[in-house]
Amino acid sequence: MKTKISIFIQNFLRYRHLLVELVGRDIKIKYRRSTLGVFWTLLNPLLMMAVLSVVFSNLFKFDIENFPLYLLSGQVVFTFFSDATTSAMSAILDNASLIKKIYLPKYIFVISRVLSSTINLFASFTALLLVMVITRAELHYTMILVFIPFIFLVAITMGVGLFIGAITVRFRDIMHFYSIFTTVLMYLTPIIYPMSILPGWIKYVVLINPLTNIVTMVRDVMFYNSLPSLLGILIGFVESVIAMALGLWVFYKNQDTFILNI
């Protein structure tokens, strides 16, 4: 076991340059030939927030203080999860031509996709900070703790990404189904609505959703000047470990058959 892990680490260190190149490529290609380039990562969440807050503060009125911020914080978390897992899903398939020809640790493709989404996460978080400053929202010291829910978020996303990237190689139907899944997940995350409007059993379903816990923690430290609850941290930690373990396990179980199915 010990030697296995040291081989794993050696291998990872050997290919870390590749990881950097792959992340760089993802970002370069995404914004190539667009005039505003990387600014889009900043602009996108802002514009989405503008549209949604106009719609929701006129159509449905929720009793939420500073609704644009409430909305944007939920959206930053959810968009990261959905973008990262969606691109991780096709990571192996998109790199089929390489995997068929050169030996590479295959998880590197999934990790690079999640990491490039993480860079986008930083950009959209910057957008959130900008909106906070512009709307003269109070800035609290607890904001520093926002890294805690973000670490959980990236870990859970990585686990889900590894899992879904591995099984999609065999079951291509997932690619078509996944956008429906993320839509359901979006409505099961308190992004546009407050928890208080949820009736009985739906509330429990929403609470089970790992993203709910993360969004709640982000809002607690960013807007409400409160420390994340200990239970929240514990749940987030356990979920991160489970997601990573499950993702890695499924990935390792399946990676030798990738070449036969791509």
């Binding site: 050997r14 290919y15 340059h17 590749l18 950097v20 190149e21 792959l22 490529r25 370069k28 290609i29 190539r32 031509s97 390489l98 995997i99 068929k100 020809k101 050169i102 030996y103 590479l104 065999r170 079951f171 291509r172 139907d173 997932i174 030798d256 070449i259 036969l260």
Partner: protein, 262 residues
């Protein structure tokens, strides 16, 4: 390894492919078929009991008709495929030249691809910066380094791919039908480079349909027929016998390997 001059050792290697008799692409079908125990495969042994050693500094040509398993052997040595049975030992870094330009991202420029491809082969960015001029020089693509590779001709892609793969001092260089592209002048240049690498101690694995090329480049040859090792030895001897066998079997039966297998 008991003999430290042995760089590649292949022992009793078998490779089995499951040719699904009907393709199962979706999860529902898979589930139903598994429950009914109807998932049936046609087994196809692509390699059967292959054993051979390669000494450091040797250049070995793999010969055989189409579908005999030459590329499968290269894939095993490159670490892309794992043998179903048997063991493979490879004692050095492998630079795969299987299909030149496999690692290129066509949306990136030639310059960006040099660094991406270098990382795929395990070179760091500073290393690649050192090699950069040499690569441009050898590929003769001075004026095209900032052009996206999608605008390249196939010959230009091959030139760039060859120039990148042969930099540094790979212990083992795998060449699968690489010299079929590019003009005669560049082919000659490639041969010079391969000979130069050989002189520097690189082990070469060479697949070509031109038996003359194999006899010219290689000192050893391995003849694979229908997944079996038919003959191994001096490239001139094996090459002559192989050429004679092709003449005597003008109506070649190379394409029925799949049907008449056990």
């Amino acid at each position: 390894m008991d003999n430290k001059d042995t760089i590649i050792s292949i022992k009793n290697v078998y490779i089995k492919f499951n040719l699904a008799s009907e393709r199962i692409d979706n999860f529902k079908e898979y589930l139903i078929k598994t429950i009914k125990r109807q998932v049936s495969y046609d087994e196809f042994w692509a390699l059967k009991d292959i054993s051979f050693d390669v000494k450091r500094g040797d250049s070995v040509g793999l010969i055989g008709v189409n579908g005999s398993g030459k590329s499968t052997i290269l894939k095993i040595i490159a670490g892309v495929l794992k043998p179903t049975k048997g063991s493979v030992y490879v004692g050095g870094s492998v630079a795969p030249l299987i299909e030149l330009g496999a690692g290129f991202d066509i949306d990136l420029t030639a310059r960006e691809n040099v660094f991406l491809n270098g990382a795929l082969l395990g070179h760091t960015r500073p290393e690649m910066e050192g090699f950069y001029d040499e690569i441009v020089e050898f590929s003769e693509l001075h004026d095209f380094m900032d052009v996206p590779v999608k605008n390249f001709s196939s010959g230009m892609v091959a030139r760039l791919g060859f120039s990148i793969a042969t930099i540094g001092h790979p212990d083992i260089l795998i060449c699968d039908e690489i010299l079929a592209v590019g003009d005669a002048k560049f082919q000659e240049k490639c041969m010079v480079r391969i000979h130069q690498l050989m002189n520097e101690g690189t082990t070469i694995l060479f697949v070509s349909h031109s038996i003359e090329q194999v006899m010219d480049v290689c000192n050893k040859a391995v003849w694979i027929n229908k997944g079996h090792l038919k003959m191994m030895g001096d490239s001139k001897e094996v090459g002559e016998i192989y050429r004679d066998s092709l003449k005597s079997h003008e109506t070649d039966d190379s394409f029925d390997v799949i049907e008449n297998d056990e």
